[in-house]
C-alpha cells in the first residue's frame, strides 16, 4: 500500500476490504492527517444515512431498552480513540459446514491465488487467449453479447453471492421478459481438461442448469428456465460433460429471493 494516505474516504464509506481496513487502521494510529480526514469524512458519510431513513417497528425500541437495562457499560478510557477500534473480526465467510469438503477448500485456495492477480470484471472485450480455439472464442463472444442484451432488459434482476474465502462474487442475472437467466463470475480458476463447472437449480433436488469453463478470468453460462423458480442456484465441479446430479459439494450457492 503506497497510497495509504489517500484511503480515508474509501475507509469511511466501507469500501476497503477487511485487510485493507486493518492496514489503514494501523496507519491511522500514527497519522494525524488521515485521522483528521476520517473525522471530517465521517460527518459527510453519516449525513448520507438521512437519505434512506426508515421507521423501525415499535417492538425494536422495547427490545433495545430491555436489553440495555441488563447490559453494563464499558468504563471510559482516558485517551483511547474510536478511530483505532478494529472491525469486528467476523469476516470469515461461512459455508454450510455439511457442504464443506477438502476439494472445495483446495479449489478456493486456487481461486484466492488467481484473485491476487486481479481482474477487469465483466469486460465485454474479447479475450484473445491464444489457446482458445476459434470456436470457443466465438462462443465466448456470443455469450457476452447475450449477457449484454440481458443486462439491458428493463426488468433485469441480479442476485449476487460470494465465493467463500475469496473476494469474488458470482451473480445470477435474470429477465422474465427476455425469458433468460445467466450466471456470471470472475476469477474462477481454470480446471483440468476433464473437469467442468456445473450450475444447479435447487428446488428440492438439484437439477442440472448448465456447464461451463472459465474463459480467461470470466465465466458466463446460460441457465435453464428453472432458475426463475429455484430456491437457490449452486455451482459444483463435475467430470467433463457434466453430471445428472452433483458429485461434489457446492463451491458457491446463492439463495434466490422470492418474487
Amino acid at each position: 500500500m503506497n497510497d495509504l494516505h489517500s484511503q480515508a474516504h474509501a475507509y469511511v464509506i466501507g469500501a476497503l476490504t477487511s485487510q485493507e481496513t486493518r492496514e489503514f487502521e494501523r496507519h491511522l494510529i500514527e497519522c494525524d492527517a488521515c485521522s483528521a480526514d476520517v473525522i471530517d469524512v465521517r460527518a459527510v458519510a453519516s449525513a448520507l444515512s438521512a437519505t434512506v431513513a426508515a421507521e423501525p417497528p415499535a417492538r425494536l425500541r422495547a427490545a433495545v431498552l430491555n436489553q440495555i437495562a441488563q447490559t453494563a457499560q464499558e468504563p471510559a478510557l482516558e485517551r483511547t480513540s474510536h478511530r483505532g477500534a478494529s472491525r469486528t473480526d467476523k469476516n470469515v465467510v461461512a459455508f454450510r459446514p455439511s457442504r464443506r469438503r477438502r476439494f472445495a477448500t483446495s479449489m478456493l485456495a486456487a481461486a484466492a491465488v488467481v484473485a491476487a492477480v486481479g481482474f477487469g470484471g465483466w469486460a465485454y472485450q474479447a479475450n484473445q487467449d491464444a489457446d482458445n480455439s476459434e470456436q470457443l472464442a466465438e462462443q465466448a463472444r456470443s455469450q457476452r453479447t447475450e449477457l449484454a442484451a440481458l443486462l439491458s432488459a428493463d426488468d433485469v434482476r441480479t442476485v449476487s453471492g460470494r465465493f467463500p474465502q475469496t473476494d469474488h462474487t458470482g451473480t445470477v442475472v435474470l429477465s422474465k421478459k427476455q425469458g433468460k437467466a445467466m450466471f456470471v463470475a470472475s476469477g474462477l480458476p481454470d480446471l483440468p481438461d476433464n473437469k467442468v463447472y456445473e450450475a444447479w437449480t435447487i428446488n428440492g433436488d438439484p437439477e442440472p442448469a448448465g456447464t461451463f469453463s472459465p474463459d480467461g478470468h470470466q465465466s458466463i453460462v446460460a441457465l435453464t428456465d428453472a432458475a426463475f423458480t429455484a430456491d437457490s442456484i449452486a455451482i459444483t465441479v463435475e467430470p467433463e460433460g457434466g453430471s445428472a446430479e452433483p458429485t461434489s459439494d457446492a463451491i458457491f450457492t446463492v439463495v434466490m429471493p422470492q418474487t
Binding site: I13, A47, A50, V52, A53, P56, E74, T158, T169
Partner: protein, 232 residues
C-alpha cells in the same frame, strides 16, 4: 408533515402515506425518464429530540441514564435503521443488527469523545460498519437482492424497498448528491449503500480501480463542500 410527538413507546405515530414520483434523488438520469419508479414516501414526525440536544443526551447516556438513552434512541433510530435496512435488504436482519448497534452504543457511550466527531457521526459509523460487516461476514449476503447496475452504464434499477422517508435533512443531502457527477454518485452508492469494496465497484462498473478511488474521494470532498458545516 407533523404528526404526533412524544417518545412513549406505545403512543401511536400517525404517518401519512402518499405515492408520488420523487424528483431524481440518488439516481437521476440513471433511470430513463419513462422508467422512473414510483416511490412510496412516508412522511415522518420530527424526531423527538432535535440534533442539537444530542450532545447533552449523550452526556447523560455516558453516565448510565437509561431514560436519556430512550430519547437518544428516538432521536436517532430512523437514520440508523434506514442505513442498516438499506445495506442488508432484509427487514428481520436489519432489526437484529439495529438492536446490536444500540447495545453497542450503550456499552461504548462512556468512551465517546467529541473530538472524534459528532454524536450522530459516531453512531452512524457504528451502524454502517455493523451492517457492512454483517453483509460481508455471512453467506446471508446471498439472500439480498442487490440493486442492479447495468454493467458499464451504471443504470440503477428500481429500489426494491420502494420506500424513502421524506425529511428535511434527507432532502438536503439528496440535493447535494445531485450535484455529483453520475460516476461519483454511483461509486458512493455502490460502496456505501451496497457494501461493495472499491474493487467490486470497479468490477461492477467495468472501470479501473484507480478511477473508482478517485470518484469516491472526489465525491466525498464535493459532498463535504455542499453540505458544509451542517453535515454532521
Amino acid at each position: 408533515m407533523r404528526a404526533s410527538r412524544g417518545s412513549s413507546p406505545n403512543q401511536k405515530v400517525v404517518l401519512s402515506m402518499t405515492t408520488v414520483t420523487l424528483p431524481p434523488a440518488w439516481a437521476p438520469r440513471l433511470f430513463s425518464a419513462q422508467a422512473r419508479p414510483r416511490l412510496t414516501v412516508v412522511t415522518m414526525p420530527s424526531p423527538t429530540a432535535p440534533a442539537h440536544e444530542l450532545p447533552s443526551l449523550m452526556a447523560k447516556v455516558s453516565a448510565g441514564d437509561e431514560r436519556a438513552f430512550a430519547r437518544f434512541y428516538d432521536a436517532t433510530v430512523r437514520n440508523v435503521f434506514g442505513i442498516v435496512l438499506h445495506v442488508l435488504r432484509d427487514h428481520a436482519q436489519a432489526e437484529e443488527v439495529t438492536q446490536e448497534i444500540y447495545v453497542e452504543a450503550w456499552k461504548q457511550a462512556p468512551k465517546y469523545d467529541v473530538k472524534q466527531g459528532s454524536v450522530s457521526a459516531w453512531l452512524n459509523t457504528i451502524a454502517h460498519r455493523r451492517a457492512v460487516d454483517r453483509v460481508r461476514s455471512s453467506e446471508r449476503r446471498t439472500h439480498r437482492e442487490q440493486r442492479h447496475f447495468e454493467a458499464g452504464t451504471g443504470r440503477l434499477a428500481p429500489d426494491p424497498l420502494d420506500q424513502v422517508v421524506a425529511n428535511d435533512e434527507g432532502l438536503r443531502v439528496r440535493a447535494a448528491l445531485e450535484k455529483l457527477s453520475e460516476g461519483q454518485r454511483t461509486a458512493v452508492q455502490l460502496a456505501y449503500f451496497e457494501g461493495k469494496t472499491q474493487r467490486e465497484v470497479a468490477e461492477f462498473l467495468q472501470v479501473p480501480l484507480g478511477t473508482v478511488k478517485t470518484r469516491i474521494r472526489d465525491a466525498m470532498q464535493r459532498l463535504r463542500t455542499h453540505l458544509g458545516e451542517a453535515a454532521s
